[in-house]
Point group: C2
Chain length 247, copies 2
Amino acid sequence: MLSKTHTKYIQSLQHKKFRDESGLFIAEGPKVVLDLLNSRNFICKEVFALNEWFDLNENIKSIHTGTLFVEVKDFELKKISALSTSHSVLAVFEKRKQDSGLKITNKLTLALDMVQDPGNLGTIIRIADWFGIENIICSEGCADMYNSKVVQSTMGSLGRVNIIYTDLEAWLQQNKKIRIYAASLEGVSIKSIGKLHEGIIIIGNEAHGISESVMQQVNEKMTIPKTGAAESLNAAVATGIILSHLV
Amino acid sequence: MLSKTHTKYIQSLQHKKFRDESGLFIAEGPKVVLDLLNSRNFICKEVFALNEWFDLNENIKSIHTGTLFVEVKDFELKKISALSTSHSVLAVFEKRKQDSGLKITNKLTLALDMVQDPGNLGTIIRIADWFGIENIICSEGCADMYNSKVVQSTMGSLGRVNIIYTDLEAWLQQNKKIRIYAASLEGVSIKSIGKLHEGIIIIGNEAHGISESVMQQVNEKMTIPKTGAAESLNAAVATGIILSHLV
């Protein structure tokens, strides 16, 4: 049985302010919760699940001894869920400390400039995980990686990709030795670039693209060849296409 | 000034049942509305817009003489909008008759098997428009192309891509002369297929992939090479990657 106070505190984690204050966030659904539980990057505080979930995950309590497991009823789960259709499990995790000693030589790194749509950010994290991209640098204007919609659309990849929020312009200036590529509506075709073993790839805002100050740091603009009429591609789709050609 | 009855009738178009009964649907936002107005494929019945939108589109009334233009206040637009942040314009269009004499030789055609997420369907329509794909065949279990979220995420491409809802299995059987490719987690790498001048590319459901009966019609399974750990890619992202390699 969930108390009113407990219910309210979990609901409050749907707001960035309370996530920042508490250092906690929510993940929902069997796949996302299990992937984060299995990841060594996140500490799980509490799991709220239906009886059926515990039946399917019998040994989970003995593996995660530091976690509080609470069996809840369907109506209780609905109350604390941020989803329109709640799944069988919801968990509260501790946010991760930002990695300060990031190594970006000899690998590809994604940099996101004001990617504001939570679904896009989550999908980009999932794409990075598919293509083995270890690090994503987010400008401070990007959506919060701990927003429920972001967590949900990563489909569990959140535990396998390192995400850093920073002043993107300053960060790029500090990393000038690495070649910087920009996803753009103009520039060289991604098909003519070939495989890249090292580089920073910048993806811009959904409506306005890459900001001017960030664009000034770029060494090469690249574009996805168009054969039809659409003005642009969704930011996550563009990221997927670019990585599929350069990785 | 919008009457209560008028407001209710526009709100009702957010439900498939009423869209089917009336043969009408809603589009919102300057880009989407103008793209559909400029498309010859849709007849516009009514446009509800703020004064500022009319200032920006002075000649619009003289071009679209069959359309009713209504200036509304911000609070009225909010009432009829399906978006959390309403834009400056909302329009009611007539649904399109399905094209019965589809030609799919000498071109690539997308076929969607139970793509249920409206955002994914809209994004796939936008991707098809980017790559010059003329036709998308949707199984009857796909999201409704006239759902507000679909219309919104096409970003205007709805007017430039031909979309047909049909019994996908039967349709594939009728088109056996065209080679059928399936997006799958196994199969040959999309990088080894090369450019395709003709073919049907099937994209499956977000959670369950391509259904068994549809898969039986497939000539070749193809996959996007993975170098990381994510289990799968978002359906729209996968579509974008596949088309970028095959078109």
